[in-house]
Amino acid sequence: MNPYQVLGVAETATDAEVKTAYRELAKKYHPDNYADSPLADLAEQKMKEVNEAYDMICDMRKNGGASRSTYSQSSYNNSGYTNTSFPDVRRLIKEGRLDDAMQILNGVSGTGRNAEWYFLMGMIFSRKGWTEQAYSYFQTACRMEPNNQEFMSALNNMNARRHYNPSGYNTANSSGCSICDVCTTLICLDCMCDCCGGNGCC
């Protein structure tokens, strides 16, 4: 493995460039982005490669400014839940057996349909790519149990994805100047005028 290739920089790149490239990639593959995603394992693998490459370059350059501060593998093991009403369903979702999981949940009726039931329904739909339904199930789960960390983080992740803005690009207001710009320019000009001792004229 050529660590420079992994980071996408030339071997002649400065320490700062290496660091910037590393940061970019770490941001791209960060486990937070892929929480609840079926591709999470692939992202984790990428992240590991990038971390290793960066460590290698740092070792090679030793006294350079690039300090070893690789992102740690985030603690994304969803085994954090303690008391679940649906251990089987959670296992099936983990194994990717979505239809079976769905069947069990559909068999639950009335009061059995607690917040976790809605959350897990959301999980199944999310895995299937049925994002709209998933979103509404997550919302219901959070409404029923607003203090549940697991449900909340799933909803937050989804909220982030429902706003697409790659690389901060915005088609509106990309050019031209607003009223604010005009005002600031006038104020600046006025100040400059005052400096030159031109009073009264502007």
């Binding site: 299937k128 429902r162 706003h163």
Partner: protein, 285 residues
């Protein structure tokens, strides 16, 4: 499949990338002419050009370009890909097959003149469709299943947004998966294709919203939000944004060998711009 929404944003593109994109477009046109006679060239679409871009980006080698003459305008010289027949052939087959099933759909539920028009075209497409099916049975079965599933989904008057978009999404997921044998890449392409397909279906539904309300046609957004598009525009936008986010997340994991800037142009600028112009009726430029 719906046509015309998957376009690049030229103003955000480097000249050389646009030349490459154009060359792929012209090569696909040429391939259609070669495999399915001159007439079939008229069905050339940007969506299938994008499929060709994806196919080429995953191939092991790329032959580079050469100069040739355009069949429609003999005075014009175009760039063409030197070889890479397989990728272009797949894209040509997808073009033929998806137009064929569109005709089948229109004959089933179109108006009188639409039906008449489709009947006239059918003899040609039946022959071409057979040929494409023989070459790429997997592409054919993916589109055939989509057509069938779509028909069934549209019969359900309570059909959800997700359910309505599922057939198109699944189809694109399948046709992209056949571009590689690598298991990891297949998983990535499966998710990537699913959400791209979902976006394509939903942007078309958003585009036809008013029209479908008027004519009483099937439209999942109309089922979900009634005839009140204005107050749900944010929800519609969020559902489309969600698709693009998932698309980009999958794409980031995919290692493509070339044309990455074309694909990124599409994901970063082309599709979001299109979405904005459809939802907020902004003038495109």
């Amino acid at each position: 499949m719906v046509f015309g929404f998957v376009t690049v944003d030229k103003s955000e593109m480097l000249g050389k990338d646009f030349d490459a994109y154009k060359a792929i477009y012209c090569s696909l046109c040429k391939q259609l002419g070669k495999e399915y006679t001159f007439l079939s060239r008229f069905i050339l679409s940007y969506d299938c050009t994008f499929y060709a871009v994806m196919a080429l980006s995953l191939e092991d080698s790329c032959s580079g370009f050469c100069v040739g003459r355009c069949k429609f305008n003999p005075l014009k010289k175009c760039n063409y890909l030197k070889s890479n027949e397989e990728s272009l052939s797949k894209a040509a087959a997808l073009s033929i097959i998806s137009v064929y099933y569109k005709l089948v759909d229109n004959i089933a539920d179109g108006g009188f003149f639409e039906k008449l028009y489709c009947y006239c075209l059918m003899p040609f497409f039946s022959v071409w469709h057979k040929k494409a099916k023989k070459k790429f049975p997997k592409i054919e079965s993916a589109v055939a299943q989509m057509s069938k599933a779509q028909f069934e989904a549209e019969r359900d008057i309570t059909c959800s947004i997700d359910k309505a978009a599922d057939p198109t999404a699944t189809m694109l997921s399948k046709v992209l998966q056949i571009l590689t044998d690598n298991e990891e890449k297949r998983r990535i392409l499966s998710a990537y294709g699913y959400f791209l397909g979902k976006w394509i279906y939903l942007i078309d539904a958003a585009n036809d919203y008013e029209d479908d309300v008027k004519k009483g046609n099937f439209n999942p957004y109309v089922i979900a939000y009634g005839d009140d598009k204005a107050s749900h525009i944010k929800d519609i936008n969020a559902s489309l944004d969600h698709c693009l986010s998932e698309c980009l997340l999958s794409y980031n994991l995919l290692e493509v060998k070339r044309f990455d800037r074309i694909i990124e142009n599409l994901l970063f600028y082309g599709l979001p711009k299109k979405q904005k112009s459809v939802l907020y009726k902004e003038n495109e430029k």
